[in-house]
């Protein structure tokens, strides 16, 4: 048999030897290899489920005062201090007014996570819109990117403090203390953290715009809006997902920092940052009240960061499959 024949024979296969891989299957395959990301992702899922469903399992009212059982220590203090005041009814102890710490952690976590998610989605939508428009419409590129540069050189934390302090009262008056504060914090965090996303998305769109499939779409008369929706957005999804994880981490930390500095949610509305800040004055006697919320914030952010690391590797086709 000559070499020529062999080639033709190879072409005569009925079908591919193995079924084609879908892109997301490949992504999942690569993602599984990154142990840190896998652990981080599962932890984030666990925390999210815990703060969402926790109150149905742990049904104690977080606001209920129980002055007889105040200052109960967490169960684990019993390991080294047999005289400690511990109760099975309050596994993580109670605060100086007898409110259950576990119930407060669940409710506080829900606020922190909600602020983080909503602020991140807001920042992503602003950033993606600005980035896609700047990348696709050449005339708007200059002004929009100069504007992004200007916003990038604003002093973010001082401005956040100023905005939250000054606009607190009117928003509270019109939406109620909790909702008003939620809108304010989500708004200011979202408005001040979209710039990196915009820059990344713009550079991706600039590169994609020159590719043949966009030319083909244009040549058959697709409108710019449809090109953006059908062809550009699905292709920039991976940098957006990676910057989403970064945004979630930043938003959670910023909200906690604002609460810590005393400009966050109202006093009877727990968040992790607020619980931490409130417990600092008495932390020499009750260190767990600082450590527990602090650990919750740090571990959540750590797992989000690891998740982002793994997603970056998994979504990058140059690294994938190696």
């Amino acid at each position: 048999m000559t070499e020529q024949d062999q080639k033709i024979e190879a072409l005569q296969d009925d079908g591919p030897l193995e079924p084609p891989h879908s892109q997301w299957k490949d992504v999942w395959h690569q993602f599984r290899k990154h142990k840190g990301a896998l652990i981080g992702g599962s932890f984030l899922l666990l925390v999210t489920l815990g703060v969402l469903l926790g109150e149905y399992i742990w049904t104690i009212d977080p606001q209920k005062l129980d002055i007889r059982n105040k200052d109960v220590r967490p169960l684990y203090t019993f390991l080294w201090d047999s005289g400690a005041k511990v109760q099975w009814a309050h596994p993580l102890g109670t605060d100086n007014l007898g409110r259950d710490a576990l119930a407060n952690m669940i409710v506080g976590g829900r606020t922190s996570m909600a602020v983080g998610w909503v602020a991140m989605i807001l920042a992503l939508s602003i950033g993606t819109t600005v980035g896609v428009i700047a990348g696709y419409f050449r005339r708007l590129d200059g002004p929009l990117m100069r504007f992004t540069d200007l916003v990038l050189s604003l002093p973010i934390l001082p401005l956040l403090l100023v905005a939250v302090t000054l606009f607190r009262d009117p928003l509270r008056a019109s939406f109620g203390p909790e909702t008003g504060m939620f809108i304010l914090i989500v708004g200011v965090v979202g408005i001040t953290s979209w710039m990196q996303t915009a820059r990344i998305v713009r550079s991706e769109v600039l590169a994609l715009k020159e590719r043949e499939f966009i030319l083909a779409a244009r040549s058959i008369g697709t409108t710019p809006g449809a090109i953006i929706r059908r062809h550009l957005l699905p292709n920039v999804i991976s940098p957006i997902v990676v910057s989403a994880t970064l945004g979630l981490a930043t938003a959670i930390i910023t909200e906690s920092a604002l609460s810590f500095l005393g400009v966050g949610f109202p006093p009877d509305f727990p968040t992790w940052g607020k619980m931490l800040a409130d417990s600092v004055p008495r932390m020499d006697q009750y260190p767990e009240r600082v450590v527990l919320p602090g650990m919750a914030i740090s571990l959540t952010v750590l797992s989000v960061n690891y998740l982002g690391d793994g997603l970056r590797d998994a979504l990058d086709p140059r690294i994938r499959g190696r």
């Binding site: 840190g36 540069d149 200007l150 050189s153 604003l154 002093p155 973010i156 934390l157 001082p158 401005l159 403090l161 100023v162 905005a163 302090t165 000054l166 606009f167 009262d169 009117p170 981490a249 930390i253 906690s256 920092a257 810590f260 500095l261 940052g273 931490l276 800040a277 600092v280 932390m283 020499d284 260190p287 600082v290 450590v291 602090g294 914030i297 740090s298 571990l299 952010v301 750590l302 960061n305 690891y306 690391d309």
Partner: protein
């Protein structure tokens, strides 16, 4: 290079004006009333006079212009007078704090050294720790050192300073009693013993801030070293028989430092933001603490001036980073 520097300098003027306008408008549109603390028994015409005394009588654009003149023209004159004993600024209206009725800049001058000592030292310490870690973990990529370095920098990214601060206080001030938990601003260093006390009270705030710097800079250093270690010129250097330490520490390191130096310059303003929280935790009487107290007292001129000073820092260090990049890397000079 010079034209590029001059062009960047001129471009930063509208940037600064825009930022000052944003800050001014934000404070202007905010619904807080500086007269809110005045008792209700004070008659309205007296209140109107008090408003005028605070400089609130005039329309918005005139007040903005006045503030610009005070910040960019009169305050530098005061600084010049203090340095050389001249009297340019005598009798001119300075930016007054509503809280203390004294010039804002005088308070800044009193408090700035505290912030600069803590922030500046922590930045230097952070860089000094980060560079060797970054170099070594890139040189031994995927080794145990690299893996644990990655883990520690991840932790440094993730633990916020308002948690590390109390944690350090709890361990080293409360349990072990090694360092004081509160930073004594009035402490004067005049002999060896007082220097030791100063050193001990600075260790914890510096460490908290340095952790974040270390995490960021060592990541940059590692990535930049990895980019360079696989280049052809490294193989050439090894092939011509140069000792390994010269290849790494001279050839690779010098090229890898280019983006790292820029990152270091760009990180300076960010560390001032982190300093606000650290100053609150350790009760350092610096700029950040001043900003917070002015904010809570509705002292708008102080808030405006302090926020704008941080914005100036950001713009200046962006400029320095851009120029440094051009100086260090001849390929990307813009002229």
């Amino acid at each position: 290079m010079l034209t590029f520097t001059i062009r960047r300098l001129i471009l930063s003027v509208p940037t600064l004006l825009f930022i000052s306008l944003i800050i001014f408008l934000l404070l202007e549109l905010a619904p807080g009333d500086p007269m809110a603390q005045v008792p209700l028994t004070v008659p309205p015409e007296v209140k109107a006079k008090m408003r005028e005394a605070l400089g609130l009588g005039e329309p918005m654009h005139i007040r903005y212009w006045k503030w610009l003149v005070q910040f960019f023209w009169i305050e530098p004159q005061v600084l010049f007078d203090n340095m050389f004993g001249t009297t340019f600024a005598e009798g001119k209206q300075r930016i007054l704090s509503w809280q203390t009725r004294s010039p804002v800049m005088d308070m800044v001058a009193q408090r700035l050294p505290q912030t600069l000592w803590v922030v500046g030292l922590s930045y230097i310490v952070g860089i000094l720790i980060a560079l060797p870690i970054g170099i070594y973990s890139a040189y031994r990529q995927y080794s145990v050192f690299d893996q644990s370095g990655t883990f520690i920098t991840m932790i440094g990214f993730s633990i916020p300073p308002f948690f590390t601060g109390p944690l350090l206080i709890m361990i080293f001030a409360v349990q072990l009693g090694w360092f004081p938990s509160v930073y004594d601003t009035t402490h004067v260093v005049n002999d060896w013993d007082s220097f030791v006390i100063q050193l001990r009270q600075m260790i914890m705030p510096v460490m908290v801030l340095a952790l974040q710097t270390t995490a960021q800079i060592s990541r940059f250093m590692r990535a930049s070293m990895l980019d360079n270690l696989n280049q052809d010129y490294v193989r050439t250097a090894r092939a011509k028989g140069l000792p390994e330490h010269i290849v790494v520490m001279v050839h690779v390191l010098r090229n890898s430092m280019i983006p790292v130096v820029t990152a270091i310059a760009l990180g300076v303003p960010g560390i001032f933001g982190g300093a606000i929280i650290t100053e609150v935790v350790f009760k350092v009487n610096g700029i950040g603490a001043q900003l917070l107290s002015a904010l809570f007292a509705n002292d708008l001129p102080s808030v405006q001036t302090l926020t704008f000073m941080i914005a100036v820092l950001i713009v200046v260090f962006n400029l320095i980073a851009d120029v440094l990049y051009g100086v260090l890397d001849p390929r990307i000079r813009y002229d």
